[in-house]
Amino acid sequence: MNNTNSSSIAGNAPGKPPRSRTIERVRSGLKKRHQAERRFRLYGRVAIWLGLAFLALLFVSIVAKGYTAFEQTYIRLEIDFSADNLGLGIQRDRAALSRADYGGLVKASLRSLFPEVTSRRDKRALYALVSPGADFILRNQVLEEPNLIGITKSLWLPANDDVDMFIKGHTERTSEDSGRLKAIQHRWIDRLIAEGRIEKRFNSTFFTAGDSRDPELAGIRGAAVGSFYTLLVTVALSFPIGVAAAVYLEEFAPRNRLTDLIEVNINNLAAVPSIVFGLLGLAVFLNFFGLPRSAPLVGGLVLSLMTLPTIIIAGRAALTSVPPSIREAALGLGASRVQTVLYHVLPLAMPGMLTGTILGMARALGETAPLLMIGMVAFIVDVPSGIFDPSTVLPVQIYLWADSPERGFVEKTSAAIMVLLLFLIAMNSLAVFLRKRFERRW
C-alpha cells in the first residue's frame, strides 16, 4: 500500500511533499467521521427519548387509573339517633353504646327516603347502596359525643363501592340486572342525584385507614406505616453493620485467602434472589428464634440481610476512591489507623456510602418476595403501632389489592403505587440532600 501511495504521489504531483497527501486523506475521510459522530449522538438521544417515553407512559397510566381513588362517593342521609332506632334500653354506658344497632339507623333512614320499597329483596338492594362501614362511622360518632342520642342529623356517609364505581363512570348502566347494580338501584341512584344527596368528596379514608375487604373502606395507612417501620429496622441494622464491614475489609483486614473468599461471597450474596432471603428469614427468625410472624421487625431483619451486600460493596468502592495521599498525610502526622479512618477517610467516603445505602433501601422498599415468606402478606386491618405488631408493606399491599376481584380495588392499586413512588422520591431526595450536606463541609 505504501508503494502505491508513493508512486501515485510521484506520478500525479511531482515534487509535492507527501504531507499534503495526508491532509487530503484526512479531508476525504472527514465526512464519514462526522456522519459516524452524528449517528452515534442520534442513537444516544433516541435511547433517552425512548426511556423518557416509557417512564411517561408508566406515570400517565398509573395516574390516569389511580387519581379517582382520591375521591369517594358519599350519600347524604338524615340519621335519627333516637334510642328506639338504636335499640337502646336505660343503660347509656360505653359498652351499651358500642353494642347498639347502628345498621338499623342507616336502614331506617333509607326506608324513610324510599317508602315505596317494601319487598324483602328490594329492601336488601336498597340497603346495599350505602357502605357497610357506615355503621362504624355512626358508632364512632356516638361514642365520641353521646348527647347525639335523640337528635336527627344530616350526615354524609360513604356509598358502597358499586355505587362509587358507577358514579365515577367505571361501570356502565345496564338495562337488565346483569351488572353489579340492578336496574332498580340505578333508578334510586338517579333520584338521589336529583335530590343532591350524592356527592364526590376527598377520600380521607384512603390515608387514615388500614386494609379492608370493602374498597371504599380500604386505606393505605397500615401498609405505609408498616413499610416505614420495616425500613427503619432495615436502615438501623444494615447501615452500621455495612459501613463497619466495609471499613474493616478495606482499611484494616490483611489481604489473604480468607478476605478474598469473603469478598467473593459478598459479591455472590448481592446476586442471590430475594425470595431465598425470605426462606432464610422464615427458617431462622420465625422457626428458630420464634420472633412474631408478619412483624416489621422480622421484615427489617430479612431486608437487612438482603441489602447488606449492596451497602458493603458500595461502601468499599467509596473507600477505595478516597485518594491514598490523604491516608499517607494522616499517617505521616502520627495518626493511628483508626484516627486516619474516622477523621479523614470515612467522612470523604460518606457521600458514596450514603448513595449505596439509599439505593439498597429503595430496593428494600420495593421488595415483596422475601416478605411473603415471613407472613407479611396476611390481611391486616389495623395500623401497626410498633415493630412487633403484625403489618404489611406497600408493595405487598399493591400485590394484595391487584389480586382482589372488586372493581374498586383497581384504582386503589394505582393509588397505592403512587404512594409508593412518592415514598421513593422522598427517599431519593433525602439521599441527595444528605450528600450535599456532607460534601459541603469541604
Binding site: A329, G332, L333
Partner: protein, 297 residues
C-alpha cells in the same frame, strides 16, 4: 507506591545491563542479592539524630535498598539525590516506617533514634511519626479548613490543654511556614483551595505543628513553580535551626543550594556521601560524577 514499582522495574533493567556478581546470602530470604558497593565518604557524624546501619529493603523478593548505612545529623539538611528508582524515597520512608503501609515491603537493618531501634516491629509507629514528620511529593492537605489542617496533629497527640494554646500552636506554625500573612484572614477556608506552593507550605506547617525532631521531605518541590520552590527552600533553611531535614530531590541545584550534606544513591546502593560542596565540586566516585555532570540520570 508507583515510585517503588518503577524503582524495582528500573533495577531490573540495570541488572541486565551491568555485570553483577550474584552471591547467595544466608541471612536474607531473597533469591538474588547484589554485591554491595562500598560507600565512599564518611556516612557517620557526631551526635546523630538517627543512625542507620546496614538497612536493606525488599519489595517481595526484589531488593530495593542494599546495605545502606547513613547518619542524620542534628540540625542539618541532608539531601538525597540519584536517578529515578535508586531507592532514595524508599530509604526516606524507612525513617518513619511509612513503608509499613506497603504490602510486601520488608525493611531489615538497624535504624537507631536515640537508643531505640525504630525498625523493631515492637516499636509503636504513632510516637515515632510524631517525632519524624513527613512532607510528600504532591501537596496533600486534608480537604478541610486551613485551621483544621494544622490543628489535626496537635489534636490527635493531645499537645495542648486549652484552646488558646492550640491557637498559639497554629499561628506560630503558620508563621514559621511563612504562610501566616497569606492565610490569616481565611483560616476557615478549605486548605485545598490554596495554590500549589501554599498547599505545600501548609503541609509543612502541619508537620511542624507537631514539633518533630526530623522532617522528611520527599521531592517537596517537584510539583511547584520556581517562585514557590524558592519560598520552600528559604523556609527549609530557616527550619534547619531547629529540625533535622532529609530531603529527596531530583534537582541537583536544589540539593546544592539547601543541603549541608549530600548522599548519592544508585540502584539501591549508597554510592557516596559527604559535604555538599565536596560532592558537587569534587566527587570521588565515577557514578556520582557522571550523575552530577548530567551524563546520565
Amino acid at each position: 507506591m508507583n515510585e517503588t514499582k518503577e524503582a524495582v522495574g528500573q533495577a531490573d533493567q540495570f541488572e541486565q545491563a551491568e555485570v553483577i556478581q550474584v552471591v547467595a546470602t544466608p541471612q536474607s530470604t531473597a533469591r538474588v542479592h547484589r554485591e554491595h558497593r562500598t560507600t565512599i565518604g564518611e556516612c557517620r557524624v557526631d551526635n546523630p539524630r538517627m543512625r542507620c546501619t546496614d538497612v536493606n529493603v525488599f519489595y517481595d523478593d526484589k531488593q530495593a535498598i542494599n546495605n545502606v548505612s547513613l547518619d542524620i545529623g542534628e540540625n542539618e539538611i541532608i539531601a538525597m539525590i540519584g536517578p529515578s528508582g535508586c531507592g532514595k524515597s524508599t530509604f526516606l520512608r524507612c525513617l518513619n516506617r511509612m513503608n509499613d503501609t506497603i504490602d510486601g515491603c520488608r525493611v531489615i537493618g538497624e535504624i537507631l533514634m536515640g537508643e531505640e531501634n525504630i525498625n523493631d516491629p515492637r516499636i509503636d509507629v504513632v510516637p515515632l511519626r510524631a517525632s519524624v514528620g513527613m512532607v510528600f511529593q504532591k501537596p496533600n492537605p486534608f480537604p478541610k479548613s486551613i485551621w483544621e489542617n494544622v490543628a489535626f496533629g496537635p489534636k490527635i497527640h493531645g499537645l495542648y490543654d486549652h484552646k488558646s494554646e492550640l491557637e498559639e500552636i497554629i499561628v506560630t506554625s503558620l508563621q514559621r511556614a511563612g504562610l501566616w500573612d497569606e492565610v490569616k484572614d481565611r483560616l476557615d477556608q478549605p486548605g485545598t483551595g490554596l495554590s500549589g506552593g501554599q498547599q505545600q507550605r501548609l503541609c509543612i506547617a502541619r508537620t511542624i505543628a507537631v514539633e518533630p525532631e526530623v522532617i522528611l521531605m520527599d521531592e517537596p518541590c517537584s510539583a511547584l513553580d520556581p517562585i514557590s520552590t524558592a519560598k520552600v527552600e528559604e523556609l527549609m533553611m530557616e527550619l534547619e535551626e531547629q529540625f533535622s531535614i532529609c530531603i529527596v530531590t531530583h534537582s541537583m541545584q536544589q540539593a546544592a543550594r539547601v543541603s549541608r550534606r549530600t548522599a548519592y544513591f544508585h540502584l539501591g546502593d549508597l554510592i557516596e556521601v559527604g559535604e555538599t560542596e565536596q560532592i558537587f565540586r569534587n566527587p570521588q566516585h565515577q557514578l556520582t560524577e557522571d550523575y552530577i555532570t548530567g551524563r546520565f540520570g
